[in-house]
């Protein structure tokens, strides 16, 4: 019965949504509509309804109420409590309810925190946000209702895919969604601001907070997914250019561009139209991310089998929203008052513009790489996949100038600067970087064509960002994020160049030689856990002075019957030792993979630094 409570509260939320849309749509025409307290309380009721329905679903998962179809398909009584709760959003229906939950809560927060802004702008934002909420409510209620009943009631559920039973992945979707859904507020408010003719500095300083929040959450969300892939998928990499990863990277790139544009808009009152276009694009990318992942269209390693009719719904909804926004953009474009002061070539404005251009290029590469295979399959039924070489080849050559401009850009002044005075420190840092990278490349015999300039520039950026901490009037949040980014590029580069990998099939007692190390498969033992059996292998890795013991694990789940590998990773600040093993067949052989991954931990730390910079920026009143 409690199951139906969730269902009915969603219907109430739907009714509220229709009412609010019809009420607020009046303000599209008239400019004098004021937001009555009435509507505000309706929004609160709506959020509460969605929260109730979400809690109902969690309750159904925790109590293993198998009369609920979603619970039956994705849960099991023997599952630990933590994963019963996280199982709520570990499936299609639940994850959409989470989307909706975040949508309504964000709208609620928006209405509360925007009290001092113009009524028309608030009402219009409410209107657009309600349209999105309405679409998602329809989608949930009619194509993927998490509260469908099952009769007769089964005794036992089919279980959650064990690969998802992991702490990092349990919190990955909520964090990522906070980022995705945050872009919906940016989208609605950009449209509202065009119609009410208020794309200006004060709009920028208001929406900047939302851009920062979404950006921080999106970065952390991507990081969590990446960490999960690193230790759970057993490949020892952190980014595979898999379509599902790409769809989270695309809004991030767009949002990063928007972040820089919004700062400039706030400071210099330029780039009005461009900020609007980016706001719309970012949201469209977030929506299509959900669409591509959930529709099962992507031929991806992560794809979960799914129902195509759902994809069609999201696709139509997405098209309507994009069409609507383009229409609004063209109709109300004249309200945008561009500030047409004379631009100078050497100025911070140009640097931001360059950042945006590069971001757009990176975005198009990722977009084409992700969409092209789908496109080709629809057109002539050819099935292809696009691997890392495509991305590396296109991104790396452009990364080199990008790093250069990123190093010098932030130090250029607004409006107009001179190139005449050559900065002595920058030149000397550049020379030092050349020397350092030359010796490095020589020592490790790295022979990739572009690696030398790439090294030079990433080391250059690294030094410059460190130096910049000691300047006058330091914008600390920006410095931290930029330093984090330079650290990220540098660690990815070192990680890519210096990683070593070894794999072999071994029996217990076998020994293998790899570099100057001996890898010994010592023993294997079996332990019974709550909902799986665990095989723990013991490996010893020895070189002249050190001996390291690694104990990777194989988990054999019975509900559903699946094996997962848990890699054992021993991390130090310089390098990760990564060992994972797998059973192929009952003939005594285990497939063993040993990897040395230098600077792995710095990749995670640098992303945390990047997001931390955003967080600090949020705290400050004026950047």
């Amino acid at each position: 019965m409690i199951n139906q409570l969730g269902n009915y509260s969603l219907y109430i939320a739907l009714l509220i949504s229709i009412f609010v849309i019809s009420k607020t749509s009046l303000s599209l025409r008239k400019s004098s509509i004021t937001l009555s307290g009435n509507i505000f309380s309706l929004i609160s009721v709506q959020s509460i309804m969605v929260i109730i329905s979400f809690l109902t679903l969690i309750y159904a998962f925790v109590t293993s109420d198998f009369s609920n179809e979603t619970v039956y398909n994705n849960s099991h009584t023997t599952k630990p409590l933590f994963y019963k709760i996280s199982g709520t959003w570990g499936n299609h229906e639940g994850s959409l309810l989470l989307w909706l939950l975040v949508l309504t809560i964000f709208l609620f927060i928006f209405t509360v925190e925007s009290k001092n802004l113009s009524q028309r702008y608030r009402t219009l934002t409410l209107f657009f946000q309600q349209i999105i909420i309405f679409g998602f409510l329809l989608f949930i209620l009619f194509t993927s209702n998490p509260f469908s009943n099952l009769f007769p009631i089964p005794n036992e559920g089919t279980g959650l895919n064990p690969i998802l039973q992991d702490p990092a992945l349990a919190i990955h979707p909520p964090i990522l969604y906070l980022g995705y859904v945050g872009t919906s507020i940016i989208f609605s408010s950009a449209l509202a601001a065009i119609i009410s003719g208020s794309i200006n500095k004060s709009w920028a300083s208001h929406i900047k907070k939302w851009v920062l929040v979404s950006w921080v959450f999106l970065s952390i969300g991507i990081l969590l997914g990446s960490i999960w892939a690193y230790y759970e998928l057993g490949w020892g990499g952190f980014w595979f250019w898999d379509p599902v990863e790409n769809v989270s990277l695309m809004p991030w790139l767009c949002l990063t561009a928007l972040l820089h544009t919004i700062f400039t808009l706030e400071k210099r009152d330029i780039f009005h139209s461009w900020a609007v276009i980016l706001s719309i694009t970012t949201f469209a990318l977030s929506m299509s991310g959900t669409f591509l992942v959930r529709s099962g269209i992507l031929n991806s390693i992560h794809t979960f089998a799914n129902d195509p009719s759902r994809g069609v719904f999201i696709l139509c909804f997405l098209f309507i929203l994009i069409f609507l926004s383009i229409l609004i953009y063209f109709f109300y474009q004249k309200t945008i008052k561009e500030n047409l002061t004379k631009p100078y070539l050497i100025s911070k404005e140009t640097a931001v513009l360059l950042n945006n251009l590069f971001m757009m290029f990176f975005l198009s590469v990722v977009l084409i790489g992700t969409v092209y295979p789908i496109f080709l399959e629809v057109i002539n039924n050819e099935k292809i996949s696009i691997g890392p070489p495509f991305y590396h080849k296109l991104l790396i050559p452009f990364l080199i100038p990008f790093l250069f401009f990123m190093a010098i850009g932030p130090n250029i002044k607004w409006i107009n600067d001179k190139i005449g005075k050559i900065n002595f420190t920058q030149v000397s840092i550049f020379i030092i970087s050349i020397i350092v990278s030359y010796f490095f490349v020589k020592k490790y015999g790295v022979s990739y064509l572009l690696s030398l300039p790439l090294f030079i520039l990433s080391i250059f950026l690294f030094f410059i960002t460190i130096k910049d901490f000691f300047g006058k009037r330091v914008n600390i949040s920006q410095k931290i994020s930029h330093f984090g980014f330079s650290l990220l590029i540098l660690s990815i580069l070192l990680n890519g160049v210096l990683s070593k990998e070894f794999s072999s099939n071994m029996k217990v007692g076998d020994e293998r030689k790899f570099l100057n190390k001996t890898i010994k498969f010592e023993s294997i033992k079996v332990i019974k856990e709550q909902n799986y059996q665990s095989l723990i292998g013991e490996f010893n890795i020895k070189d002249e002075n050190n001996s390291l013991s690694l104990k990777p694990e194989l988990r054999i789940y019975d509900q559903p019957q699946t094996i997962t590998s848990e890699a054992d990773i021993s991390s130090t600040i310089f390098s990760d030792n990564f060992l994972v093993f797998n059973v192929l067949k009952n003939d005594g052989f285990y497939n063993v993979r040993y990897q040395i991954k230098p600077f792995m931990i710095w990749i995670w730390i640098s992303v945390i630094l990047i997001s931390f910079g955003g967080l600090i920026s949020l705290k400050k009143k004026n950047v």
Binding site: K383, I384, S385, I386
Partner: protein, 139 residues
């Protein structure tokens, strides 16, 4: 004639256009070079000539076909019409099992032998490569 401002604007727009065209050209060109085609064992049988290009083969791992020694994993991919032998050295994913779906990426040696560099198996235990689902339907 046109004023200075207009000339500048034309220059700017044409530069922008050129860079857009150039980057699209670059992207498409490297697409051509880096695309990996997905084939079924049947499609491989019907190939006229074998190119030295990376491909992906999808199908089911044939029952009782996995043979392991300390260096390699050898197995047979089938789409229930045709088969192909695969030899692979490296680590295999968890869901790589006899009777389950698999995708192997590598180079063809001849029409019945693939030297794989990468093995992909899907996360979902019920997953079946679409090609296999299709060829099962045809049967």
């Amino acid at each position: 004639m046109y004023g200075k401002k207009v000339k500048l604007r034309i220059l700017f727009i044409s530069l922008l256009l050129i860079s857009v065209v150039l980057s699209i050209y670059l992207i498409l060109k490297s697409l051509e070079e880096n695309v990996v085609y997905f084939l079924s064992p049947t499609e491989i049988k019907s190939l006229v000539q074998i190119e030295n290009k990376k491909i992906r083969v999808g199908g089911m791992v044939k029952d009782n076909s996995i043979v392991i020694n300390s260096e390699n994993v050898n197995f047979v991919i089938t789409d229930f019409k045709n088969e192909i032998n695969v030899s692979y050295s490296g680590s295999v994913p968890n869901l790589f099992k006899e009777g389950k779906g698999v995708v192997a990426e590598g180079f063809l040696k001849d029409q019945s032998f693939l030297i794989a560099e990468k093995i992909l198996a899907k996360h979902d235990e019920n997953y079946m490569p679409p090609e296999v689902a299709e060829s099962l339907k045809d049967k």
